[in-house]
Amino acid sequence: MVSHRRNLTVRGSLAAGVAAALLASCGISGAAEGGPTTITFWSWTSGSQEAVDRFNATHDDIHVVFEQVPAGTGGGYSKMYNAVRAGKSPDVVTVEYPQVPAFVTHNVVQPITDYGAGELRDVLPEWAWNQVALGGDVYALPYNIAPQVFLYRADLFEEYGLDLPTTWEEFRDTAEQLRGERPDTVLATLGNTDAALLAGLAWQAGANWFDTAGGSWEVNATDEASLSVARYWDDMVADDLVNAEPLFAEKHIADLQQGRSLGMIAAPWMLGNLSRFVPELAGSWAAAPLPAWDGTAAGNYGGSGFAVPEGADHPEEAMEFARWVATSPDAIAAMVPASTAMPANSDLFDIWATEVEAANPYVAGMGVPAVATAAAESVPPAWEWGPDMTDGFARLMDEMTGSMGRPGGLEDALHRWEDDVVDQLRLRGFDVTT
């Protein structure tokens, strides 16, 4: 593995050398044209700086300037909207899938269909493509996905003689067994402030909260699939079989450290958090497919794509950079030390598996890449996001925290949330059906 990494470095410096040679041979003509085209890239995701550095070291026609912005919903998106409005658009930005429809409806991003985004369609999971293809155009190039997996304390599972659950029914049985034997320990902690997690679980169960097939926003968070998810977790929380509290807050970290919480519903990007918050638990974790309702399916829980804002000065160069990050093994190699997020491009799955384990001793041996790769292929393709998910998630979080674990709490929360979302969208003029 070490030799492999050295290889990459050699390749990198070789490429830089070639680039320098090319630059030298271009000489005066290159300088006359003003040298490389400079583009700006706004993001907050881990690994962005590393990817940009590698790109700049291996390309002499385009120079990417990376600007760290606050996390999307923490102010980054707002900054992007305002930059476009002020006519100071960056050339390329990171947008998470739930926010793509809002960016499109506000005319903040331009279609990238004409910049060759379609060439990547075949190597992307169908559901990931559906996240960025809206109204007949493509608006973002997926580069990260986050299929759900179940992370569990393999050491304690073995010590306590627990079987790995494969269905949600078995998950409950295992949780009850554990509770019976060790009253102060739970099978998992469920983030009660994380609306995207609940959405992902409904997604896994086959729901589609925002269906646009009929030409209007058909909002439906109260279908049988979503409600059964809600009922299931209400019961689990009410019966004290899982903890419902913010993930990686002090309480959860204390529970993890003391072995009082044995698992969590996760996605590959979360491994970074895990290794940062509980480094002492290295080697005790393993990944398994998320328990299923029937058949095997995972929901998606995060991920993002590259979008080109309206008014960007260099959309073609921006897309060339985006395509490089989304297709190049070199980009994966550059990013894995900083980020454990999974690439969207299925051609890169194997390379990512090798690289992410080589670069992160904490991750090696957990078996995440294999589980996540299988999960990525099983995510239901029908799911769509609404046109104001930043607000939607904030409202769903409020509904969730207040009601999770009360009899019928989450179920009511989904009903209230749906009504609320419908009202908000109608107020702003969207065509909504329920």
Binding site: T73, G75, Y77, S78, Y81, P101, A102, V104, T105, H106, N107, L134, G135, N192, T193, T212, G215, S216, W217, A244, E245, P246, A249, E250, K251, A254, P387, D388, T390, D391, A394, R395, M397, D398, T401, G402, Q424, L427, R428, G429, F430, D431
Partner: protein, 306 residues
């Protein structure tokens, strides 16, 4: 001849005017640029709205909305309950803070000199801690299973939930009082220092006790200072934002994303990208603050006249 010994009147006036301009100009320039102008801009924004149609892929259309945004706000349960909450919060917080500040300032004014400096510093210290940090510290102290305070109460057989239900309002007031008390004590204390010692001595000679001196001699003379402190506190409570925002992240409280009007404005602008509605909510809060300030001033003036 007179002009050689003293400059003409008009020149003096001009010089004085230049002096005033020089001293006040920068303030008014900045005040206009950062306060008056944005205020008008916000009012302007509040009369427009962005309207989407169909699925919305075509983008929004900017339309003149007359008072649509105001009607929306005044019928928006999020806005109305938010206003109700900050008013209730103010109703608890303002009297509590002002009374505590007066009592502590009077005590400091009376206390022996060596103790005074110590307590002054001690009381003022929390004011140096930014509201954000204070909220994080208090959140830790409020969170069950983490907080030594909750543990201590629990050991005494009292299971108290600082974040749940209606308690969260008092928990917020507690953070605010902790943070603002020192500053207000110092404010009033400085006022007390300016009270002429002769009036106090006169009262003492007339046989007034310490309590009587404090409440009948000192307090009436610092009422203007108390009034200013009250005004600032009222306006501050209408703008409640940081503390509930932090407590919300605990996942243990009923605080929602639009719990106060300022949170609603923030959410409209930065989550929904609806600056028009955010501006409307902000204008309404400014109007409310103006009305309340006016009422307090009028009330105080009438009392002063009597």
């Amino acid at each position: 001849m007179a002009s050689t010994t003293s400059p003409p009147r008009s020149r003096i006036r001009r010089q004085r005017r230049n002096g005033v301009l020089l001293l006040l100009g920068p303030f008014f320039l900045l005040f206009a640029l950062t306060y008056i102008l944005p205020l008008f801009y916000a009012v302007g924004l509040s009369f427009f709205r962005e309207r989407f149609s169909g699925l919305g892929w075509g983008g929004p259309e900017l339309v003149f909305a007359w008072f649509d945004n105001y009607t929306r706000a005044l019928t928006d349960p999020d806005f109305l309950s938010g206003v109700g909450r900050v008013l209730l919060y103010g109703l608890i917080f303002v009297p509590l803070l002002v009374v505590l500040a007066i009592v502590l300032a009077l005590l400091l004014d009376n206390a022996l000199t060596y103790g005074r400096r110590f307590f002054q510093t001690l009381l003022f210290l929390p004011h140096i801690v930014p509201g954000l940090i204070a909220s994080l510290i208090w959140l830790y102290l409020y969170t069950p299973e983490l907080s030594p305070i909750v543990d201590a109460f629990s050991a005494l057989g009292w299971d108290i939930d600082f974040l749940g239900g209606n308690n969260v309002m008092f928990s917020l007031v507690n953070i605010a009082v902790w943070g603002a008390l020192g500053f207000n004590v110092v404010l009033i204390f400085v006022g007390l220092q300016a009270v002429p010692r002769t009036t106090i001595d006169a009262a003492r000679i007339d046989g007034a006790g310490e309590f009587r001196i404090a409440f009948n001699v000192k307090l009436p003379q610092v009422l203007p200072t108390v009034l200013v402190a009250t005004l600032f506190t009222i306006i501050g409570s209408l703008q409640l934002y940081t503390e509930p925002m932090i407590l919300r992240t605990s996942g243990e409280s009923p605080i929602s994303n639009t719990w106060t009007p300022n949170m609603l404005a923030y959410s409209s602008a930065f989550n929904s990208n609806d600056y028009h509605y955010a501006a409307t909510v902000s204008v309404l809060i400014a109007v409310l603050a103006g009305v309340l300030s006016f009422a307090v001033t009028r009330f105080a003036n009438r009392r002063a006249l009597r």
